[in-house]
Symmetry: C2
Subunit: 422 residues, 2 copies
DNA sequence: ACAGTTTCCCGTAAATGC
DNA sequence: TGCATTTACGGGAAACTG
């Protein structure tokens, strides 16, 4: 019979996309007394799934079963499976299972490994399996997958509780906020500070005290929409993470993006600063948008706050953000256009902050191809005299998390790579 | 034995990409005397290829072989194969064939259909096959594929000369230019006029008389690079066709793009026109670029011509071309920026020509999301006083083609669809 | 080293399923 | 009908392969 091995070590639980190759490696931790013959390891996906599961997958490539021992890296045997690919097993029996309660990214799967060998007349079966895996079919499901992985790692130490999302526990904000910050520091190179986390907490809990440690439900974190918005808290936050990764990395890493600031806080900060002082803030109303807000003073000394329509990935791929800040102009009726952005909050001269980050030269540079006049895009806003501006609401909270530690024995599922594993 | 059928009718020879689905339909033209049993048709790809062929493909899907009669549309039997997919047959025997002379898009393939039935004790084998097909593995090979299809259609009536590109004939410019114009009228809605074709002829033949009917070799048409350029004549022309299809359709269809004009001709046309008169021309130095050139006069009355750096698909997807024309500004040292484009050659006021084609309102319109100031991109050129401009060379020729007609008999390969068949 | 060719796979759009 | 999920495949880039 099967000799169940102790669980398995996996740094980063994974998200696997059907049809996309992934790699996994298993290591035998016990030293076998001179096993000469070829030791075969078989990988099986969704091996022990309870029947009636909604979706079930299998490994498409013929690498499914047999593999011989290869590496003697640090004295122990290991196998690496490459080019594995998942495909859905259609119509397991009749129709799909029932639990239509869970969404695709809440459904947890696993990859099993088996081997069998004989030592001194003893037949030994080894078996181990990975931490829970999320299977998606389109990259558009990645954010949902990440949410699941985070929640699982944060809230359980069980190595393979595939039913975790049947009744997921709540998270303390102190834990959750730490994980969120960790996401930013891992993927964008800089985590979230206290003020930024406070704003996120306010978004989840409202204006309540940021001192007590509220609990967040899984649903509130990633399933329910934020009141009045067509997306959940995590979808919103992840869209920002993506925006940073693709378009704002240097600016983010220089800490020039305050980012998570309520509009009320924003005004409080800018009020009384020098005219032309601005700060950068992520849009709360649209996914993956960033805007800048600057302060001006009318003749009677009243502060006036202006924000541009948030820039999203499409706009930013046409023009890098630093260049937008450099070149932004406001036109008011035939006057020579002027850039209203002068000082990055609290008081850093714009070019001093962003100078190194500017890309295309202010139009002239950029080796002009001989007969042509070079041309760049300039972001402009046209203000009509009667333009009134009055921004809306505000919020604030704080963070912690520690990924589970996993034990190791016979098998060490030491590494598993898919494009989505970090 | 096989009863070879007469060739086959195929409106549009095809380009098929491996791994991408295509559809084909075969029709039986003879009325069978009450065939009750199921008539099976088998499709085979690259059935009779000479061995040693460089690449060989097969139909991946299990739809490969059997299909029963389905449609009685207009009284005749037909089968439609859907979701067919091609995959390369690797290592036919040992290494690939030898003829490394032909490029992938010059290699012609074919799709065969076979059926067998018995009438009144007579066993009849039917067989037919498609016109030559080009197989590609990436859309980046499409332009090359189109070139082959055009050349084949233009220069032979043979239904399946798979060795056509072993020694491809030359084309008369009178024929070729007609095909080229036809490409534009088919895919972009408007063909090429005499002047445009004359410029293309000059590009191929130099300044020579455009009256005599020069011949163009296949190599010169699509394989050799244009002297001094890193692309062939067809690659260049096709890049423009693509640019039009994706970004310039309305402007092209309104006939506002002169497009194919040598720089010399351009100057001759603009000289003496009112200041601010401009015309639109495709870049000859870069793939898929369009520029505008306008005329100005210095104080002593000398004409001065300016062209912007050509806009390519990336820029145009950030900002539609009509809007670029509307908003383009030139800045000279602190002066209020001005749009130098006033009249579309010969003398149409800019807004009269392009007014209907403008997209985003001149910034203001576009329902501004409440607290935000809307913003648009404006293309600008910054001129320094010492900017000198002097454009280069010029050329000119003319067009004709008629796709072959194909005969029909037993089988009528009536239709064949792939995403690339028009 | 490199050029021609294929593979890989994201991200959008469309199709499908429920 | 609408939403959730999958499929399709263009397009850019990496990997392959002689």
């Amino acid at each position: 019979e099967k000799q169940p091995c102790m669980p398995t070590h996996l740094q980063k639980p994974l998200i696997i996309k059907t049809g996309v190759q992934f790699t996994t490696k298993v290591r035998l931790l016990v030293k076998l007394p001179e096993v000469d013959y070829q030791l075969k390891v078989k990988t099986t996906f969704d091996k022990d799934l309870p029947p009636g599961r909604v979706r079930q997958f299998f490994i498409l490539t013929n690498n499914t079963k047999v593999m011989d021992i290869e590496d003697y890296s640090n004295g122990c045997l290991s196998v690496e499976f490459r080019h594995l690919q998942l495909k859905e097993k259609k119509y397991i029996n009749g129709t799909k299972g029932s639990e239509g309660l869970l969404s695709v990214t809440e459904e947890l799967h696993s990859l099993s490994f088996e081997a069998c060998f004989t030592v001194q007349g003893l037949t030994i079966d080894l078996e181990t399996c990975s931490l829970p895996l999320v299977v998606i079919s389109n990259v558009s499901q990645l954010p949902g997958g990440w949410a699941s992985v985070m929640w699982y790692n944060l809230l359980t130490d069980e190595p393979r509780n595939l039913a975790f999302f049947g009744n997921p526990p709540r998270a303390n904000w102190s834990q959750l906020s730490e994980v969120l910050s960790w996401q930013f520091s891992t993927f964008a190179g800089r985590g979230l500070n206290k003020e930024q986390l406070a704003m996120l907490g306010e978004k989840l809990f409202g204006q309540h005290a940021s001192c007590s440690d509220y609990q967040v439900s899984w649903s509130k974190f990633s399933k329910e929409n934020i009141p009045g918005k067509p997306f959940s808290f995590w979808m919103w936050l992840d869209s920002i993470l993506e925006l940073i990764k693709k378009h704002l990395l240097p600016v983010w890493n220089e800490n020039y993006i305050m980012g998570f600031v309520s509009k009320e806080m924003e005004r409080a900060l800018l009020k009384d600063k020098e005219a032309g002082t601005f700060l950068l803030r992520f849009s709360e109303s649209h996914l993956g948008g960033i805007t800048f807000t600057w302060v001006e003073y009318s003749e009677n000394g009243d502060a006036k706050f202006n924000s541009v329509e948030p820039y999203t990935k499409n706009r930013l791929s046409a023009l890098p953000f630093a260049d937008i800040i450099r070149d932004y102009k406001v036109i008011s009726d035939g006057v020579v256009p002027e850039n209203p952005l002068k000082f990055l909050y609290p008081n850093i001269p714009k070019d001093e902050a962003f100078g190194r980050l500017y890309n295309s030269q202010p139009s002239k540079g950029k080796r002009t191809i001989y007969p042509y006049i070079s041309s760049t895009l300039i972001p402009i806003s046209e203000l009509r005299p009667n333009a009134s501006t009055t921004p809306p609401s505000c919020q604030s909270p704080q963070p912690p998390m520690t990924p589970g530690e996993f034990d190791v024995l016979c098998f060490d599922l030491s590494d598993m790579n898919s494009p989505y594993s970090e």
